[in-house]
Symmetry: C2
Subunit: 502 residues, 2 copies
């Protein structure tokens, strides 16, 4: 029987996989000195008073008193490390270039001329400039799926990029740049194959020049309902443009491509005490393999990682990106404060009962899904990275908002870690669901792709499940459908709009 | 030929229905002294320097110099009236109780036990606590529409109340009360017949106690996906609850009811220079008939009416509601300011070219759709009024957000005035489209219900078109489908959330 799991080589604590009774001799022949609850920490070595307690390779805190090998370490055992201010972040001090080799170096994707990333699906994306057009577009898309899509069998789907932005908004508000950037960039997602189809009304504030290149604003790519005399001509114009695009998209074929053409998003939601022990570290291992293979991997969720920011900064390669990291965090601090919300950063009683002793430990569980690779770039929500490798993409943690904003940043596949279970999926890119506990995989039949709970039961290692996730990413990118895609479960597109509605 | 239109009896200006050349003798035998562009104002009497210029029965400004009968009055002719501060608003000074009698006093609606308002449609509404569940619900609703709905022919539709709220939000932010109130109240819309069906995930922040009465939180009305072992049991539970609700709803029958059981929302969008001349005043006349008949009529769109607030206040019946009006306006001023936006209140060059001389005149065009009735109550966005009559419902102007929030306030029919044209409609309640110009009705075939442009051409009066709108409201409330409903065009539900996303 396996009792504990150690997250990183340099850690001096391990995590209890079950409730462990005092006196039990665990992995490595250590005798446990206390009754230790599941998901809590056990000292692997003696730690003198004032010594560092390390999990995820970082200092969670310093020993209040001498800690003996086998002791239970909880929130009462630790003095918090000083949290450096955002303007004092150190960068580049923990650059780990020794990443695991990916077992496969290629996938079968759709190349897009001029795009850094290749598509994982072949989708006609129809961008809207305003919610007004959605009623007509939904009817049109139903007709397209019945009348047109069967004629173009190489096209997987038709997706309307629906949003409540575009009008009735403060278009010149400073933060309007966030939704506008997202709307502009989501059209460039490689799954849409570089084909543009933009449908507007005609009197909205979000004019085409705000979201399209001048050369693209023409009758081939852009139509306004108010330019067409009535419903029949509108429908005819939409159907005609769609069919032209479908004809082009239908010629796309999957080809073998290096994984450097792949962009993968990492996210978690409904986390539990085991998310940071099983699912997130395994995803982090897959992430490291992807990065080692030259792919782009994004992790996000500002509010989740906020208190571990110094440990992200240490992995950032250069000063401009460290400064950008600080700027994004500070932007979000201000955004929450303006909304009358404090960060509620301290672990809740539930977190502590779940073994999370400090605010740093809580954030590190979320950051674990980014593996150990250096952070090559920090981007704003909805921005497209200009570098490959590991990217911190500063989106909200909200599942659908994070997913939408990662789509705008070019994501072809998302990996989603869950402790509680969610049917979450995106229509524009497939989402792989990884659960943190075997219970959930067993209970929620048919809704979870990969069980990382096998790490907790000792059946598999983080590396094994990580490799499984890596392989599923490659298979999914190459066309295999995760469960939610297979079942046709899709969440709404939810663009992040921090600017006022008018 | 008819040259001008006068908005109210006490006005001393009329509006040019076409470009009018100097020297033309217009209605009432007045000779025009200037070349007057369409939609601009012409003096009907001599106005001495400092005298009031009245349109919509209110002072737009004071004459800079002596104005002669037949003169063109534009932004250069007027000195602005002092705009009173929000804490100095006068109420109750312009109470007009002499409203037009409605030609019909009843409609055929669906009574809802315990609800002030009767339904205009018979719909199964499925409330979500979080976007996570929408993927599964969409699949379930497709099945319901194929397998269940045909068995219950008295039920019109099944509507998922989808929103991006519920998780990944600052649930305790001060302004979170706005979306929470809207989600709670939209379920009570009379078109859902008092039946509750709430679907959640299980780990979201928007717990059922936040949106339901304690007595309603039970297995009959509320289910969590995480409580069911896998997709098949989830689907079975959803389908079973839906069928139970459909059985109850199918027993509903339309009965003849007094129009006091009706709640009507007024809104405009894509306005032009004629909206305030034709469509909005005609809608205001219909509104007055409804109010006279004891119905509830809501007008909204804070940013649109902001600069005419003193003229709303004058029609407010009591101090508490005048104070509430000031509070809502001031809340919105602060909300915009926090987002870095100023009110951009002055008429734009386009507005001025369209004949709108002052910020008051611009707002009065929007307020015109509220007719002349007293304002019996002011409510916050998403709040359910406790009085009948004319209600100012302080929602954003954004079409889909205003529509959604009016649904939450109990609206059974919306009337939507448009100058530019929009296919906008709501799935949970029908929307009647009224256009401001005959051009648009002719051009946008099959997308507009009523042409108020016939007022500008002189074919009809405001009273005639107003009566036409009134009759269409009664017919629509009784089951007749406006064009957009008949075509199945529906916009997304867009809940107003001024609180931060996390
Ligand atoms: Ca390493
Ligand atoms: Ca998340
Ligand atoms: Ca939708
Ligand atoms: Ca009167
Ligand atoms: Ca509007």
């Amino acid at each position: 029987m396996r009792y504990v799991v150690k997250m990183r080589d340099k850690d001096n604590v391990a995590i209890a996989l079950h409730d462990i009774s005092k006196g039990t001799v665990i992995d490595g022949g250590i005798t446990v000195n206390d009754n230790v609850p599941q998901a809590h920490k056990i000292a692997l070595v003696d730690v003198p008073k004032g010594g560092s307690v390390l999990r995820y390779g970082v200092v969670l805190g310093y020993a209040k008193e001498d800690i003996s090998k086998g002791d239970w370490i909880n929130e009462n055992s630790l003095i918090l490390p000083k949290s450096p201010a955002l303007d004092e972040l150190e960068y580049g001090t923990e650059i780990d270039e020794d990443l695991p080799e990916p077992p496969r170096k290629t996938f079968m994707g759709y190349e897009v001329p001029g795009n850094e990333y290749a598509g994982t699906r072949n989708i006609l994306g129809i961008q809207t400039t305003v919610q007004c057009v959605v009623g007509i577009l939904n009817v049109a898309v139903k007709r397209m799926k019945e009348e047109l899509l069967p004629k173009y069998p190489n096209v997987d789907d038709i997706v309307v990029i629906s949003h409540a932005y575009g009008c009735g908004v403060a278009i010149d508000a400073p933060e309007a740049k966030v939704p506008i950037r997202a709307i502009r960039n989501i059209m460039k997602n490689p799954n849409f194959g570089g084909e543009l189809m933009v449908v507007g009304l005609g009197c909205e504030k979000l004019t085409p020049d705000k979201i399209m290149e001048k050369r693209d604003i023409n009758d081939d790519n852009f139509l306004l309902l108010q330019d067409h005399p009535g419903l029949k001509p509108i429908m005819a114009a939409i159907m005609e443009m769609a069919e032209k695009k479908l004809k082009v998209l239908d010629k796309r074929r999957r080809v073998e491509l290096p994984i450097s053409k792949l962009s993968v998003g990492m996210q978690c939601g409904g986390s539990d005490a085991f998310s940071g022990v099983t699912a997130n570290p395994a995803a982090g291992y897959a992430s490291d393999m992807l990065v080692q293979g030259g792919a782009t991997v994004m992790f996000s969720e500002v509010t989740e990682v906020r208190d571990g920011v110094p440990f992200i900064a240490q992995r950032v390669l250069d000063k401009p990106n460290c400064d950008k990291l600080a700027k994004e965090m500070s932007w979000y601090d201000n955004y929450l404060q303006a909304g009358g919300v404090d960060r509620s950063a301290n672990p809740s009683p539930g977190n502590k009962a779940g073994g999370l002793s400090t605010i740093v430990e809580k954030s590190m569980g979320s950051i674990a899904k980014s593996g150990a690779a250096p952070v090559s770039q920090v981007v704003s929500a909805g921005e497209i990275p200009s570098r490959h490798g590991l990217i911190f993409n500063a989106t909200p943690a909200s599942d659908f908002v994070c997913g939408t904003m990662q789509l705008a940043s070019g994501m072809g596949v998302q990996v989603f870690m869950t402790g509680r279970g969610t049917p979450y999926n995106l229509e524009a890119a497939p989402v792989i669901k990884v659960c943190s506990r075997t219970d959930l995989k067993d209970f929620w039949k048919g809704l979870i792709d990969i069980n990382a709970g096998s790490i907790a039961t000792g059946e598999k290692t983080v590396q094994e499940v990580g490799t499984e996730i890596f392989n599923m990413i490659i298979d999914t990118a190459s066309g295999k459908k995760p469960v939610a895609e297979d079942l046709g479960l899709f969440n709404d597109i939810c663009i992040f709009n921090p600017a006022p509605i008018t």
